[in-house]
């Protein structure tokens, strides 16, 4: 039951990071958490139960749920092989009393550890605003594989990534050709694959699978957190300056002032 310990530890991490997320996004609903579930254990369709109630039926490897708004609270999670009778038998993975704090945004991933045993890992998603024109990309190592280098266009951008860790970069929006190689080598494990990093999004890329179970694959999750440009420049010459009276009118007004002065002066002299 090694996996349970791992999950409890990781669940603690969600608790801590969830509080941080809550600070960062005070607008988030006060009493719910956003949780997505990714199935990244090869070859094993599963049913997922939460608090004894079936949450996901016949959940296939390589699939991801849409973000679920879950009431904050404590959850007992259990993952059964999909072909087992409902709710019976020994769970493949389980974790009791998982704290889901309000305001958190997390993805729970069922995947293989480096040694090929299944595990549940909750990852906290960065939902802070992405600067205009940029894209955030997070790569997560959830495959039964040793350390890898993640490369974009052949250049390592996340070197030495190990299971179950992640690396995050903020890059100009666009399409990158990404591949994954064994750390320090040019032995390609996955890809290359074109990844579209849309502006204003967090794109989370999971490397998952196992060499002896259909090979290594990529899974992608996208979270929108765009922001607006900081302003709109619009002119540099002052040709349509709105503050000043146009020159001819200014001249007319000054002429009126001069005439008034001259008239007043003459009036004063004739009186005196």
């Amino acid at each position: 039951m090694n996996s349970i310990r791992t999950f409890s530890r990781a669940a603690g991490a969600v608790g801590v990071a969830g509080a941080l997320v809550l600070v960062a996004t005070p607008a988030a609903a006060a009493d719910t958490a956003t949780v997505s579930v990714l199935h990244a254990v090869p070859d094993t369709p599963v049913d997922v139960y939460a608090n004894g109630e079936r949450l996901l039926d016949d959940f296939q490897p390589g699939t991801l749920t849409d973000p679920l708004q879950l009431p904050a609270g404590s959850y007992d999670l259990a993952v059964f092989p999909a072909d087992a009778a409902d709710g019976s038998g020994t769970p493949l993975l389980s974790a009791n009393g998982v704290a889901v704090p309000a305001g958190a945004n997390a993805t729970v991933v069922a995947h293989l550890k480096e040694d090929g045993t299944p595990v549940l890992t909750p990852f906290v998603n960065d939902v802070s605003a992405v600067p205009a024109g940029q894209a955030r990309v997070t790569v997560r190592h959830t495959a039964a594989a040793p350390a890898v280098d993640v490369r974009a266009g052949g250049t390592p951008v996340a070197p030495g990534l190990t299971n179950p860790n992640e690396a995050t970069l903020t890059v100009p929006a666009g399409t990158v050709s990404a591949d994954v190689v064994l750390a320090g080598t040019s032995t390609v494990a996955i890809g290359p694959a074109d990844l579209e990093l849309a502006e204003g999004t967090s794109t989370i890329v999971y490397a998952w699978g196992a060499a002896d179970k259909g090979g290594f694959k990529l899974a992608v999750q996208t979270i929108s957190s765009h922001s607006a440009p900081s302003g709109v420049p619009g002119g540099t010459a002052g040709l349509v300056d709105d503050a000043a009276l146009p020159m001819p009118l200014m001249a007319l007004s000054v002429a009126g002032l001069v005439a008034a002065g001259a008239g007043a002066l003459r009036l004063a002299r004739s009186r005196g």
Partner: protein, 264 residues
């Protein structure tokens, strides 16, 4: 004496009257509804961080990715069979209730994002004599929206919506330049509610719009989140500079913001 008095009175009248008349006859800085009223919703963009950007329905028929032979077809809302004996609604009150209804599950393999609608290519406001080529633009290193340097061209913010889909499509242009004179967007200062605006896209399609608001807003308080909102009803937002020119900054104090609604 009499002529002298008359001169004095007339002079004062001229000195005061000319600027007053000028001020009174100028077009008002803002007409129509306020920009905040007509664009978008109260939703700040970052308050819905969980919305998936990939168009939600996306049935993953475009699984052109070779690396997922085992992935099943994405499951449409996999209806949640209720627990035995729980009736047929999953919204029966339970401790820590789970989401009602089905949970959408999709293939997580990298997707080919479907091509967006064609970008706008030409902006026309017949009543104002505006007719300008449109470039697709992004942001400058300092975070401001890019605006084409040629003042006769205008820029469409390509990270936001295309005109006609949900949210505010932004097209901006310089009002003037020291070397090029007045810009294509200069007449925007006289836009009035009801003016027709036409946007022609790269493949010849045209969307028709009607101005509902023109507002002069200080750049300091420009409601950027609202103006660049990516949800809410479709709006076309035209922006240039206006207000007093600040020589020490080489720029104008305000933005002229014109918002148009689609004409059905």
């Amino acid at each position: 004496m009499r002529p002298a008095a008359a001169t004095a009175v007339l002079g004062v009248a001229l000195a005061v009257g000319v600027p007053t008349a000028w001020g009174l006859t100028r077009p008002p800085a803002s007409v129509g509804a306020s920009v905040e009223q007509v664009i978008g919703t109260a939703t700040a963009p970052s308050s819905s961080p969980t919305a998936p950007t990939s168009p939600a329905p996306a049935p993953s028929t475009s699984r052109a990715v070779p690396s997922s032979p085992t992935a099943p077809p994405s499951q449409a809302p996999s209806s949640q069979a209720p627990a035995p004996g729980a009736g047929q609604g999953s919204d029966t009150a339970e401790p820590a209730p789970l989401p009602a209804g089905g949970i959408t599950v999709r293939d997580a393999a990298p997707q080919v994002i479907p091509a967006a609608a064609p970008a706008p290519a030409r902006l026309t406001v017949p009543t104002l004599g505006v007719d300008a080529a449109v470039d697709a633009v992004g942001v400058e290193p300092d975070g401001q929206m890019t605006v084409p340097a040629e003042v006769e061209r205008v820029g469409w913010y390509r990270f936001g919506p295309v005109p006609g889909v949900a949210g505010s499509a932004v097209i901006a242009g310089h009002v003037d330049s020291r070397t090029q004179g007045l810009g294509a967007m200069a007449p925007l200062r006289e836009a009035a509610p009801g003016d027709e605006v036409l946007v022609t896209d790269a493949v010849g399609g045209t969307t028709r719009w009607r101005v509902v608001a023109r507002e002069l807003i200080s750049k300091q308080v420009l409601p950027l989140d609202r103006i660049f909102s990516r949800d809410g009803p479709p709006r076309l937002t035209l922006i240039t500079c206006g207000g007093p020119f600040l020589p020490e900054f080489g720029s104008y104090r305000d933005n002229v913001v014109v918002v148009a609604e689609p004409v059905p």
